[in-house]
Symmetry: D2
Subunit: 347 residues, 4 copies
Amino acid sequence: MVIVMSPGATAVDVAAIVDVVSTAGGEAFVSRGVNRTIIGLVGDVERFAALNLRAMPGVADVMRVSQPYKLVSRENHPERSVIRVGGVPIGPGTVTLIAGPCAVETPRQTLEAAEMAKAAGATLLRGGAFKPRTSPYAFQGLGEEGLRILADVREQTGLPVVTEVVDAHDVPLVASYADMLQVGTRNTQNFALLQAVGRAGKPVMLKRGMSGTIEEWLMSAEYIAQRGNLDIVLCERGIRTFETATRNTLDVSAVPVAQRLSHLPVIVDPSHSGGRRDLVLPLTRAAIAVGADGVIVDVHPHPEQALVDGPQALVDGDLRELAKVMRDFPPLVGRTLAASADDLLIG
Amino acid sequence: MVIVMSPGATAVDVAAIVDVVSTAGGEAFVSRGVNRTIIGLVGDVERFAALNLRAMPGVADVMRVSQPYKLVSRENHPERSVIRVGGVPIGPGTVTLIAGPCAVETPRQTLEAAEMAKAAGATLLRGGAFKPRTSPYAFQGLGEEGLRILADVREQTGLPVVTEVVDAHDVPLVASYADMLQVGTRNTQNFALLQAVGRAGKPVMLKRGMSGTIEEWLMSAEYIAQRGNLDIVLCERGIRTFETATRNTLDVSAVPVAQRLSHLPVIVDPSHSGGRRDLVLPLTRAAIAVGADGVIVDVHPHPEQALVDGPQALVDGDLRELAKVMRDFPPLVGRTLAASADDLLIG
Amino acid sequence: MVIVMSPGATAVDVAAIVDVVSTAGGEAFVSRGVNRTIIGLVGDVERFAALNLRAMPGVADVMRVSQPYKLVSRENHPERSVIRVGGVPIGPGTVTLIAGPCAVETPRQTLEAAEMAKAAGATLLRGGAFKPRTSPYAFQGLGEEGLRILADVREQTGLPVVTEVVDAHDVPLVASYADMLQVGTRNTQNFALLQAVGRAGKPVMLKRGMSGTIEEWLMSAEYIAQRGNLDIVLCERGIRTFETATRNTLDVSAVPVAQRLSHLPVIVDPSHSGGRRDLVLPLTRAAIAVGADGVIVDVHPHPEQALVDGPQALVDGDLRELAKVMRDFPPLVGRTLAASADDLLIG
Amino acid sequence: MVIVMSPGATAVDVAAIVDVVSTAGGEAFVSRGVNRTIIGLVGDVERFAALNLRAMPGVADVMRVSQPYKLVSRENHPERSVIRVGGVPIGPGTVTLIAGPCAVETPRQTLEAAEMAKAAGATLLRGGAFKPRTSPYAFQGLGEEGLRILADVREQTGLPVVTEVVDAHDVPLVASYADMLQVGTRNTQNFALLQAVGRAGKPVMLKRGMSGTIEEWLMSAEYIAQRGNLDIVLCERGIRTFETATRNTLDVSAVPVAQRLSHLPVIVDPSHSGGRRDLVLPLTRAAIAVGADGVIVDVHPHPEQALVDGPQALVDGDLRELAKVMRDFPPLVGRTLAASADDLLIG
């Protein structure tokens, strides 16, 4: 932390701050300029925050310097991490395609979507059994029945399963079926849930809050990491802005920024960002081009019948184009399309 | 819902929509203009939303007309509601002052804060035992020990207690101590928590999401109401914008807008909106002037030692000014300062 | 400015910065902490900004400390200013009501609106002759004909005139008719216009940019002040946020914040903030309560026929209520309703 | 436009609206549903807007249907346009690289930057002689001297010149030197300037307002088109959001969205979006991948000495990487790098 004193601050004001900081177990370094004095603090930032230094006489401003997250920070872990989900890597070197239906509706719809996904190059299956919905009158997902369907489809297709959990107390149940737990945008500051997935023993995909800063996102990841789980993949999914032409505004810059601040992989959800089918492929290309470690895409065999988010699901024709993108773009950024665990064993 | 067809839509396109809507149990009213046909739908909006009408041939736009919330809507309940918390009213006719420490730290600090609050005109005590914090390294509250302190201070001062609950599974515990349950800004779309407080049998204060629209806020209230609990008070606490001079931007317009859309009381939190002590009194005056049914304010006997949000807590001198505001402003908007249940019995 | 070095910065890195800063005519004060070194700079901030210090080896962060505006800052001018427009004061001690039609349409409509305004307590007349419109197909104002109408109505009612100027080269023309020049929200960074009104010899009302920070607003005021004109009134008129229930979000906190940073008066436009007639009175009450030095309100004798912004104009019935607000609220914040110059002479 | 009546609207209310609309020269189509009546309007939308229909008895909502821009709309011009600047095409089929210094400082700096640009594949030179700056104390550009330098460098390198104009009355001067006029983000609603460049007889690059919606951007383009100039290139340059890690948030989705709504080319400015050198290359890749018709990039031979925006300028090493991106990415989206007019003649 750095304290900037106002021009009229006295030596007594400065001494008082040094005193308070020392009492709190910190060290204060005073630097006197022509107009202003600046005091640098070393020690426990949270402790300093509680001192309310900003309210002390002569203080013009207090600025925090060091990053408030540690375990997920790249400062102490310069090499970017590779997270494995059922053997499939997510990280530098590869681009991983995760695809599937937004919501699990029937065994058949889920299987068809999984086969579409696989044909496009996906090596992980997404699908929601527990759906957080803005309206209490909207379809909330099939619950455990949906998890069973996902497990069956994994059996049939070999695709490991990524699925959302919305309540801390469902974590053991969901973790017993899933290969990766997803924390959705509305739950990025549901700290009980973050702590629960931190203890679940499964990799976690943490979406960015729809109005969360990159720093807050990394702080939420730190909550998970603190419970001993560093198998975290960050997922940018669009932020809320004044623009209404798209459901959210995909913040592609967040990918390289988060990769520079944290060692965790960062993927992109082009389906929920735009909320429009015609944007999914352009945004997928942009995501890979900007350096994302993967993309997660909604597909549905019959989007016109989808119970959730049908308007953004890719259909059959789009998937041939998606397959082409997944083949052509990764090499341009020095990566390969992530293969499945089976392929890896065979290969 | 209203469907706007594109200029080139055919009679077949229109017939297809009428057909789909009828099959879904709705009615479609077709109006042909010179350039465009417009179709009005009557029936279950959520059902229609699932039809993905936007993707049908000839459709240019689909617009939702009726409100997506029902129980909390004022359309079917024109009279504004009064919610009672331990006998203290919140609603039209009164301005209720809720005050206390942001976080419960010690019995003494809580009692002193409660006495400060009472002297300023407060008839309800706020205080956090479970604190949602952006950083996992920050003070997370005293938990049940904090609830016990609040109950003791209620005993000593007669002030009913408002306190936050952050996890669905803590609801029975918190409800066993509290007179009103608070759902914080980070949890306004934690649907498990909303449903749990909906079953708790205690009034609920629902803060607005820091990036939530007014409509989403009312939808979250609908989640609570759907579980049988209509004793809900809405609390505007500032929204996230591009401006960085204040922690959040207090949206005073949200008070009359929400009061017009919903019959529920709407109060304002001037402490968390601005995040600065010097703004609390001006924003309190603005809140009462704009028509808020109450305000909830942080006070602390020694803010320079506060473990959470000290910089925004009012201190002794401010409270004399707050008492004056609470006395002078309500009459100007045709209200009185809400009295405590005891006063009501005596009076 | 303060430079924060990274933990691994060397003594050579630090020396290089001191050297660069000295060469640029500044002074650098080095403070070595246990983990980091901090360097405080004194001198010309713009000069330092051009040095691109952030790119130098070992630099972790560069933070600006002093305010980038000077003439409008309260640091060097602690007493809040009173600006006089045709003899009517705007500043501390008073609340000034400015009212009139959004756009001047006919002599009769303007006169009727002015009389309505006066009856409600207004001592300045607003009215637009040059209208900036998002659509090129919308009514753009009457131009000089509108200015003549305003001058005639001033003659008939005694109300000095506030009117907008949208192009630097119209400034002499508009200034020849108006008592106060208004710079609108879309022009707050039209620097040619700011400089032109700075030379016009008339007071200026500077609206806040609809997405402008408070700091940018004060920088725009500084552009005007730099040309020798310190008769500037700041006008908060709502900012652009994600909320769509209101046209803009009135940022009431901006009033005390700007008043603390600058000595200039700050008024509020409750009509354009909300864009809804039913919000004008509540927001007017909030504006006075929060400490605004005045309000500027749209009135129209027949809003259903208004060519611009009819939906937000107050009508006759509202104006009796407005008059009551203007009478009752100023005393509560230690102010009086600003009187006209004539009244002052008589009184 | 569509008018939605409230459930309690009477037949008289509906008749009154039909009457008002007919009087205004429009047609009204009434559709009665079980709960609500809906009225579709055909005719002049601006005229209807002025009727203030929302204020009429029984009206619940008024919704605009057709697009408010016409000349730049793709509805009436399905083929995407190619704009030529000094013979260099911008449009579908190509990706055009525009590069150069943010501000023209000296002949040597400008020539060196132009040569760097050319080596990276640029066929148009950018460079600012008139700089809009938030602070009046910042460097404002060399003015006409800067234009002369640009013309000289064009002579030496063969690169046509793109340069900003900030005041309507400078348009003839700037147009006499430039091959393309740039309207900056702060001037996108400076309507006098838009009209002036509409009459200038030179292609125009119109940046998006930093808080402008895509619709407002197209409306601003319509202002230019209305004056007879359809040689307009739209430039997405990042929008203002709550995120502070980047200067602005590049809205890549805006590229396909604007291309679908308008026939005009859309390019991206990755330098000003992020405001950070390390983001320029990733964002350039994302821009081409998402389908942009070009990119405009800051380069500077000595960014550490740059008077404006040095921190985001590319340096020599980056440019080799940029050249590679410009060579490898366009083919993946079915395009070629735009060649210069000379190459076209020779080829």
